[in-house]
Every structure is written in structure tokens, then in C-alpha cells.
Amino acid sequence: MSWFQKLRIQLATLRRSKADSELDAELRFHLDQEAAENLAAGMNAEEARRAAIRSFGNLGAIREETRSTWSWTSVEIFLRDVGAGLRSLSRSPGFTVAAILVIALGLGGNIAIFAVIRSVLLKPLPFHDPSRLIVLYQGQQRDHEVNLPIDAGSFWDWQRAVNGSADLALVAPTGQYGLSTRGGELPEMIDAGCVSWNFFHLLGVQPALGRTFSQAEDSPGAPATVILMDSLWRRRFNADPAVIGSQIWLNARPYTIIGVMPHWFQYEGKMSGGRIQIWVPIQHESAASLMHTYEDHEFSALGRLAPGITAASVYNRLATVQGQIKAAHPGPAVRDSVVGHSLLDDAVSGYRTPLLTIFGASGCILLIACLNVGSLFVARTAARRKELALRTALGAGRMRLLRERLLESFLLSIGGGLLGVFLASAAISWLVHARRDMNRVDSIHIDPVVAVFAAAAVVVCALLSGLISAWSTRSRSLLAPLQESSRGNSAGQLRTALRRTLLAAQVGLTVVLLVCAGLLLKSYLRLRATELGISSDNVLTMQFNLPGVRYDKPVQKAAFMEDLLRGVRAVPGVETAGLVTTAPGQGWGGDFLMSIPDHPPGPNASGLDFLVRAADPGYFAAAGIPILRGRTFASRERLDHADVVLISQDAANRYFPNEDPLGKHLRIDYLGMVVEIIGVVGDTRWTVSQPDHPTFYMPIFSNNLSAATLLVRSRRNVEALSVPIQRLINALDRDLPVVNVETLRETIGRSTLGSEFNSLLVLGFAVIALVLAAAGIYGVLAYLVTQRTNELGVRIALGAQRAQILRLTLLDGLRPALLGLIAGLAGSAPVAKLIRSLLYGIEPYDSTVFLSVMTVLLAVAALACTIPAWRASRLDPLQALRME
């Protein structure tokens, strides 16, 4: 007896015995009352009692009869049914375990992905009235570009124009500062957010300690102030509240700490990696020229809408303003449109399509799991059809049987759901580690909303899988098994047809999943195979930024860089080394608009966009960028003699079609400087997933450049060089922080992480679906063969060839798979279009992917069919006929 049954019986007994004693008390009261009346009528005590008992009749019989009127309460009936369900499930442990596992897989995936979607996409940001917060960017209609950084000149015009309907703050969440404290601790490079003084007020966030910026502090002449993020305060300052008012050194200048933000505070937007550790006032930090130009775009704007004002009306007003700005300043670098989003969209729009795709895939798995369990139920019903028929004949109602079925599927779904929640929490903790790059990833956990979702999914799953099999037992056919003669039964037809339909649906969903997985995987492989324009094997990069205070003259900077290169090239194991502002694959790195004074005025003479790079003469050889024409910088082309540049092949083709760029000139509009082109070099990519962009290179030992990336190439095992090289830099300047030490392979891995994640996850789901489908095909065919043993035996006895039988059964099994395949391929087409934005380098209708999916599916289906079909063809006719 199971613990459950024991509990149930104990409960019932307890209730019963209480009722029993109450009945006894009630009857005793009656007797005593009767006796008391008799006594009052003049009988003596003994007589009175006897007369009372006599008039009462048979006490035992009365008790029995009364008891028989007691019915089972609904709770007791429910518990009894649950007990029956558990018993019935435990009688077929194979079925139960299989069904629970299948449901757990389906539910676990769904719960995990829903938790992610809820925390990342849906949960409001933790700011005051977050629905009123917006982020503004600019666009360039000419180039169909949107979400471009904005210029400060436009920002001040915007702020005036929407005064009263929205407050705007200027944000540059991309600064980097070298942090050192007086205590001789290790210097380090930290990300900073430069913001206008009203930024925190606008978000509605109070600092945990101290205060936020005042308007006076947000100006060029004010004393330097800084606000720390909680993590830095704990890490570098041991969470000491006394830091308020003390000083830290940023880029070798002293800053007064005025506040510490609360630990939950995080500002995550498109332009920020969510790694900001300090905040500084923007006007204090930026050059005055940058604060007033319309041509240099370094910022975004945060806005809070006034009550009753819609975002659309603000966007419209700003579009008009931007049009006026463009009309007043028609230069090519001035932007012509405004783009706005809610702050939440800004933070998570990049994850929406991937997450919804994965959610769709996990939903498919759940559906397949339900179909599978439903199909198992149908098979189980078939096996129990005699029992069900007998019970119907004995008077069990149809509702009663349905209730039992649903109860069983609920029990299975609840079991699967509990296991699924475990799977989901394991999946979530894995995901939080695997996707450190994702905004808001730390907020992912199973909260009450997710729990409600999980419960709803369990209910849906139970209803779906229970009702499928309930549908297979029409009341008319319920009694059929009793009438069936031992031969030639055909009552299973309906059930078999239903199972075939379920199977086809399941195969169809599997095909859709396989196609999506195939497309994503192929995209990912394409992305990984893409070369940056240089070989990425055994290349190590690291970055540093020379602080202007210590290196205030251009010659000092150049001298440091030359010393560094000389030293690094002498380190044993280093094959070559070079310096560049931004290495291939490591980001946009800034762009300039240029004109070509040698060209007649026109679209090919001005407003030409180039990525900006500065490099040392040996960089091209070190990185492996071929010099296609001309030459690299000469050693004397440095400091004041640096009016020469190299351009990329793409720039040469695009801006100098059919002419020789060598000897031509470029005018850097922003700096007002004219330079001569001395060479053309091979193309490199600024990030792996984006096409080449025209690029120019100027000498790094010039223009007072202070930030650089050291690129080191070795024959093998380049990682081992990172320590000796950092030691060398430390020997040159012990306060200089070195950051982002990584190999080029790691860079590529980081930028393809999202693609890898999506493709592997969907592939995982597709494989699960394929296994379930294979199991389904096998199950249906095996069931079919068992059902037709008799018929097949007769056929073989009458002379049917083994090969014929094999073909017959094989086709029987493959038919639903083929139907499903066709439906699935048809369904994949629109789905593939939906995930187009996740694909790289392939079209949604990639014939290789579709063909491979067809082949894989047919192969798996054939394999799943082979075993039952072979068994059918090996049937011994004598045994088959005797089996009944």
C-alpha cells in the first residue's frame, strides 16, 4: 500500500469514526429523553429505560441504515480518483517515466525561456515611472541609417524646443579613464558615463551615499567631481562611507567623490555595455568645441516625458527642429532626422527577435511533447480497451472515464512540471553565466509571474494531452471491443488514424525547428569562417591610454610608443608587433567625413565617410595587411611631418573609381587638414558581421594621439606572451593601466557569441524534436504491426513475399512522416522569413539547409520504421495465427 492510500484511508476513517460517535451520542440522547419522559409518566427508572429501548427498535439496524445514507464527499471522491490514477500509472512505469520526461523537457525549456523574456524584455526598468523615459538618436535619411549617435549642438536646440513637454539629458556612456589611487594600488582602466547634471534626477534615482551633480559642477571651469558605482566602491574602497569628499585620480587628475549609486542601479542602452563604473559631468569632461558643434556625434539623449505628453508628439517636434538645423547647416556631417525609443526598447531591442525565436522553438517542443504524450495515451487506451468497455457496460459514465483520463494526464503534467522547474532553474543559472554580455541578464530569476506561467503551461499540457486521447474514445465505439470477435478486428482504425495525424503534425513541427536550426547554424558557421581581413591565429592585442597630464607633449607620447614597440619586438617569441588605434574586429573606432580637393565639386568630392585609424609604419606587416600599392609611412613622417595617409582598397574602389589614388589629397573636414595618399592597403572588418567600410590610416606618432592598441603576432601560443609584455609596459610606466588583453580569436568569439548561442539552443531543441518524432514513428508503427499480426500472418501463410510485407509496413510508417515533411517544409518558409534578421550571409530559403533537413528527416524516419517493419516481415505465420 502506498503512503498516499494510507493517508487517504486514515483521513476517511478519522472522519467516519467521528461521525459514528456523534451518531451514537445523538441516539443515546434520544433514548435518555424518551426514558426521562417515561419516568415523568410514573414508571420506575428500570422500566422507563426498557420501554424507551423497546420503542426505539433495533439500535444496530438503525445505526446501519443511517450510516448508509452518508455519501462520500467530493474531496474524498477526488482523493480516491487520484489514488486510482497513481495506481494505474504505477502499473505502467515505462509509460509514466517516458511521459514525465517528455513533458519535463518541454515545460523546462519553456519556463526557462519565459523567465528570460519576462526579466529581460517585459519587466519594467527599476526607475521612477519608467514608461515615461525615452532615448533619442539621430538618423541620416540619405543613407537609410537610424540610431546614430547625436551631436551636442543639436541637443541644446532640442532641449529648448521641447522645454515643458519633456526634460532631456545628454549622455555619453562610452568614456574610459585610467584610475589610480594614492595608495600605489594597481592602475586600471574603467568605463565611465559622461552625463549632464540632470541625468540622475531625470531617471528618478537617488544616490545611496552623498549627492548627485549640481548644475554648477556641469561646466568646464568647475572643480572635478565624480560619482561611483556600487561595485567599484566595494571593490576599490572596501565600501567605506568616508570616501565621500575624498579624492581619486582619473587620467592623472584629482576628482572629488560626491556620491555612490545604489547597488541595483545600472544604465543599459544601445551605446553602453552596462560596465560603467563611474559617472562624471559631461560639460566638465568634454572639449568646448565638442559641446557646440553639429558635426561630431558622440552622444545620445535621455528624456522624460511630462505627464500627458506622448512620445510621438515629442518625436514629431524634434523632427521639425532637426529639419531646421539641417537647413541652417547643410554640411554633409549634419544629421537630418531624429529617432526615438522607450528606454526599455533601447536596452533590449537587440535581444527581442532572438529570444522570441528561442521561445517559439521551445513552444514547438512543448507542443510536440504534448502530441507525443497524447499519442502514448491513445496507445494506452487501446491496450486497456477491453477494461474500459467492461466498465462502460457495468455503468461507468463517459464523463467519469474522461475525468479519470484527464486526472492521469494532470498527474503526469504536474510530475513533468516539477521536474521541468528544476530543469529550468538549472538552465537559467547556466544562461546567466553564458551570456554575461546580455543587458539585464542579472535580473533573470523565477518570480511569481513565471510561476503562474509554469502552472498555466502545466494545465495546458495536461488538457491537450488528455483530451487528444479522450477524443479517440467515442462513446459509440466504447463497447465495440466486447463485440469484436477474435479475428479481423478493425476497431483500432480510428485510434490509428488519430495517431497518424498526431505523428504527421509532430513531424511537421520538427521540420520547422530543423530548418530554423539549420539556417541559424549555417549563419553562425559562416560568421565564424569570416576573416577580418587578416589571419586571426596567434594574434594578441591589448590597449592603453596615455594620460594627458603625464604625457602632455606629442613628442612624449611618440617616444613612449616607440620605446614600447622596440621593447616588445625584442621579447622572445614575438614575431612582429605593431600599434594601431583600433585593431580589426574590435569596433567602429570612429569615422571622419572627408573631401577630395582634387575632384570637381559633386557627390564624389565631399561628405565621404572613412573609418579613422592611426598606425605605426610596421603595423601593416605585423597585422598582415597587404600593401597593395605605394608604401607605408617613412620613419621621418611623424609629429609635424605627418600629412600622409594610406587608404583601404574599398575606399580606393569607392571614392577613386578608374583613377590612381596615389598622390591625390584628402581633406579632413573636421580638422581642416589636407593629407596626401601614399598607399593603398587591404580591407579589414571593424566587426566580423559587418561588411568592409572605407578606411584611412594616419601615422600614430602624430596628432597628439594617446590611445592605442598593441598588436603582437607569434608563431604559436601567443597567450603566453601576455605576461612578459605587460611586465615590460609596467617597467616603462608603472602607473599605466593595460586593458582588454585578449587574442583576436577571443574577440571574434565574443562578437559571435549571440549567434552561437541562438543557433546551438535552437539546434538543441530541434534535436530533441527529432528524437521525439523518431520515437513517435517507431511507436505508431510497432503498435500497428502488433495490431495487424493476424492479418500479416494470413498474408504470409497465403504466400506473400517477405519483401512485400516489408515494403507494405515500411510505407505504412513512412506515409505520416512524408505528410508531415511536406507540411513542415511549407510551414518553414514563412518562419524562415521571420528570423531573417538573425541570419548572416545566407537567404531564408537556403536550398542546402532545406535539402539537408529533408534528408536527415527521411533517414531518421526510415530508421525508426525499419525495426518494426523488419519484425513484421519475419513473422512466423503459424505463431501469428495462434496468437489469439
Binding site: E26, L27, F29, H30, F56, G57, A61
Partner: protein
């Protein structure tokens, strides 16, 4: 005559419900009340009374509560529920129809 068993089936239910219409009573009081009102014509057998009470309770027409009786002992008091009140109206109407019809037949034929 006078045994409730001889009455039309269901009549005992009607009698119990009617007896409880004014105030809650325990089993003994119900039996006595029926006896008294019917001028000793109807003798309620305990053998039928208690099963009937428990059946009515299961059907939700009456509910029971243990309370102190007039002699100071704990007794199980039955009370009419709103369902029971409606059932009483239905059964009373039924009874009137039926007894009227029987009356007609007996006196005319």
C-alpha cells in the same frame, strides 16, 4: 394505521421539513412534535427518523449543530437551510395536489 411507513413515500421528509420550519429541533423533539400535532395519529418510528434526518442533511436541506438542549445536555439540533425551505414549498404544494386528488376520488366514487 398511523405508521409513517404506510404513508406515501417521501411524506416523512415533508413532515420533518415542516416541523423544522419554525425553529431548530433535535431528533427526539421532531418525533414528539409530529406526534403531538397529528394528535397521536402519526407515530414516527426512530428506525426511519434518523436515516431520514441524515439523508436530508446530505442533500443539504437541513444542517445540524450540536447545542445545549432544554435539559442542559448536548443534543444535535437540525435547522432548515434556504434550499430546504424551497424544497418544503415544493413538497407542500405537491402534497396538497396529491391529497386533494385522493380526496376527490374517495368522496366522489
Amino acid at each position: 394505521m398511523g405508521k409513517p411507513n404506510d404513508l406515501v413515500q417521501g411524506t416523512l421528509d415533508l413532515l420533518i421539513l415542516r416541523t423544522l420550519a419554525n425553529q431548530p429541533k433535535h431528533g427526539w423533539a421532531i418525533a414528539k412534535r409530529i406526534q403531538q400535532i397529528s394528535k397521536e395519529v402519526l407515530q414516527v418510528q426512530q428506525g426511519s427518523l434518523y436515516p431520514a434526518l441524515h439523508r436530508l442533511e446530505q442533500q443539504g436541506w437541513i444542517t445540524a449543530k450540536w447545542a445545549e438542549s432544554e435539559t442542559g445536555r448536548q443534543a444535535k439540533f437540525y435547522r432548515l437551510t434556504s434550499h430546504g425551505r424551497k424544497q418544503l414549498e415544493r413538497e407542500t404544494a405537491n402534497w396538497k395536489r396529491l391529497s386533494g386528488a385522493i380526496n376527490l376520488v374517495v368522496s366522489e366514487a
